[in-house]
Amino acid sequence: MTSGRITFRLVAPAMVYWSFVPLVQIASLAIVCRNRPPEMPFRRTVDLFLRSNWPLLLWLLLFSAAWACFPAASVIPWWSYRSVQFGSAGVALAITARLDYRFLRRDLKRTPRDAVLQLVAQRLLSWTPILLIFVAPAAWEVVASELGL
């Protein structure tokens, strides 16, 4: 998105910085899914769980392709529509949640109620630190202003 190409100079450090995302996801999974069936070792659990990230990866890839392949001045007008940004992200997040629910039900043998609770817990445990690392100071201003703190 920045340079319209894939360079070692940008890829290598970005991989290191952004590795906190899967690490946080794995940590939250370890907390939420402590009781697993005997045939489901943690390594296999992580492998299956992370695969359900594909809708988000596809979403990121499509936006990256748009920024890389078209002039910025022509991408910005439709990118600025919140319905495009948040609507498409919402669809990707919903599909991911559906896949994770199915994983919890089918592979980890959770009841429907437990699957929903663990899904919500995993999201809270993972997305809270991820968002804090990404946008904490501005997010705090928005929250504090809204709440009058």
Binding site: R51, W54, L57, W67, C69, I76, A138
Partner: protein, 300 residues
């Protein structure tokens, strides 16, 4: 996310994706050479291409660390930049340290004071300024630290919060990516700028989307140092143009318009353009292939 083989032949789909990504990285890296840009002097001033609104990773919704931004700025033909995290200054100070240690484009520390009613860029400051301050007090605090105060994307909803303080501003963004959203938004930025004497500022408000320096400011400096840039901004010796219109110091605008190449990144050689295209096509194909492999139901 490894797993068993999917393909039936000796060359699996995973290997094809990996090969595409390898070609993308090799081609992209081969095209990634620093651009040579001779110094430009106009009207007795050295002219610097600058981007004064750049967000780093982490804690500022940016994707690149300050040192990566400094290196990328050089590739985009920028002579100076300000790293301006939301409501903090660490990213700018880190970038400035990198510049002093390794050279490259001049890095000025700064902050985007991200309040509920207005956003203010403080350039050349070291200490964080609270977003809770009203505009006039925030601007005074920027000046107390020896910095320069720039109104960031001053669209209509923020105008009434600027009113008591607008006379104290040093500059305002007259061109930045939101100007491409709709003609009306571009007009709002221009109206704010034209209502009072200010340094014209073009900034990319870089968060990782689009190129660094997408919009840039031409600064006419007496000396190419952070202090020289801040002095030029205080004296309003800047020009911004978008290919059609120009804003800034009336005496300097004609000089800048004679050199439209100053407002855009240096041109790439045909070989570099071909390598970039190859990197882009192979990279997107390889990544799409990986996503499809991960999503393939029979792999679950």
């Amino acid at each position: 996310m490894g797993g068993g083989r999917v393909g039936t032949g000796p060359v699996t789909r995973e290997l094809i994706c990996a090969a595409l990504l390898l070609v993308a990285i090799v081609a992209g890296t081969a095209s990634d050479t620093p651009v040579s840009k001779p110094p430009v002097t106009l009207g007795g001033y050295r002219v610097l291409a600058a981007d004064f609104h750049v967000h780093p990773f982490p804690l500022s919704s940016g994707t690149l660390a300050p040192w990566d931004i400094a290196v990328e700025a050089r590739r985009q033909g920028l002579d100076a930049l300000a790293i301006t995290p939301h409501n903090q200054t660490w990213g700018g100070r880190a970038g400035a340290w990198f510049w002093r240690r390794f050279g490259g484009p001049i890095v000025i520390p700064g902050e985007e004071i991200h309040g509920p009613h207005f956003h203010l860029i403080g350039l050349g400051i070291q200490q964080t300024i609270s977003w809770r301050l009203p505009a006039d007090e925030a601007i005074d605090e920027v000046h107390r630290q020896g910095g320069v105060a720039i109104a960031a994307h001053p669209t209509t909803p923020s105008w009434r919060y600027w009113e008591p303080a607008a006379g104290r501003l040093d500059g305002a963004e007259v061109l930045q990516p939101i100007a491409y959203v709709a003609p009306g938004v571009a007009l709002e930025l221009q109206k704010f700028f034209e209502r009072r004497p200010l340094a014209a500022i073009g900034s990319s408000d870089y968060h990782g989307f689009g190129p660094l320096g997408l919009c840039r400011t031409l600064v006419f400096v007496r000396e190419a140092t952070p202090e020289g840039i801040l002095e030029a901004l205080r004296a309003h010796r800047t020009v911004v143009f978008d290919g059609k219109r120009a804003w800034g110091d009336p005496a300097l605008v004609p000089l800048a318009l004679e050199h439209p190449e100053l407002a855009v990144p240096p041109p790439l050689a045909p070989r570099a353009r071909a390598l970039i295209l190859l990197s882009r096509v192979c990279g997107l194909s390889g990544l799409l292939g990986l996503v499809i492999l991960v999503a393939t139901p029979d792999r679950r």
